[in-house]
Amino acid sequence: MTTPRHRGPATARRRRAGRSRRLPTVTTAAHLDRGLQPERATLAWSRTCLALVTISAIFLRWVSHYGAWLLVLPAIALVAAVVITDTQRIRTNRGVHGIHRGSLTADPLPPLMLVGVVLALGVAGACFALVAP
């Protein structure tokens, strides 16, 4: 997904984002930051992505009880998981660059989007729980 050969819209977006914020790709900041903070933050996003995939499987398990419309829940969770995976490289690069520069601007958009996903799953899940047999 993040190979240089990939030519999807996400890659174009990444290139635009990379250009506009002038972030050359830096692979690591381990010599400046022994705690490997950007790597650990990326792994935390990976765990969250895996959690989304796992709950998709749990939702699928209960389609027989709730009906086919329940597929909306794994669909939302899997789209979020794909978006997280697709943006991992930008995220690591931002973090590594921030460590190099000694300054990292917190971006509220990814947390806000993730909360939006959880709230959407929650509202849909609550509706299913209410109308289920």
Binding site: I58, G102, D107, L114
Partner: protein, 130 residues
């Protein structure tokens, strides 16, 4: 109020939600993000649990109890995820002004919510069945 040196590079949303103060140590910002993600995973687990208990306990619990516990868990998951963002923002703002970090109000929420769900299920298990 001091402006961050690279304030112009920031997104509209970042300028809006984190308007003033100085950029904290990047390691703290990343640590704050990881804590937020841990809360989100907890919220996701509660959502999955809520959906599962409604369907899983069909033959065990009365329909009203099932729905009550399911809604309790799903509602707790939604509250925690919203609270996690509020906390992320509060910690980020406190760090930008070099102030003490706010108390995590979602921690007692999770504790009390989990205890209430466990008590409800416990009472139902004890009082139902032959």
């Amino acid at each position: 109020m001091t402006r961050a040196p690279d304030a112009d590079d920031r997104t509209w949303l970042a300028r809006r939600l984190l308007p003033d103060g100085d950029e904290p140590d990047p390691r703290f910002t990343l640590a704050n993000e990881r804590t937020f993600l841990a809360w989100i995973r907890t919220a996701l687990a509660l959502l999955a649990g809520g959906i599962a208990i409604e369907a899983f306990a069909v033959d065990i619990f009365d329909a009203n109890v099932r729905k009550l516990v399911a809604l309790l868990l799903i509602g707790l998951g939604m509250l925690l995820s919203g609270g996690a963002f509020v906390r992320w923002l509060g910690v980020e703002r406190a760090m930008r002004h070099a102030k003490p970090l706010p108390l995590p109000m979602i921690a007692p929420l999770l504790g009390i919510g989990g205890a209430v769900a466990a008590i409800v299920v416990g009472i139902v298990v004890l009082t139902s069945g032959p």
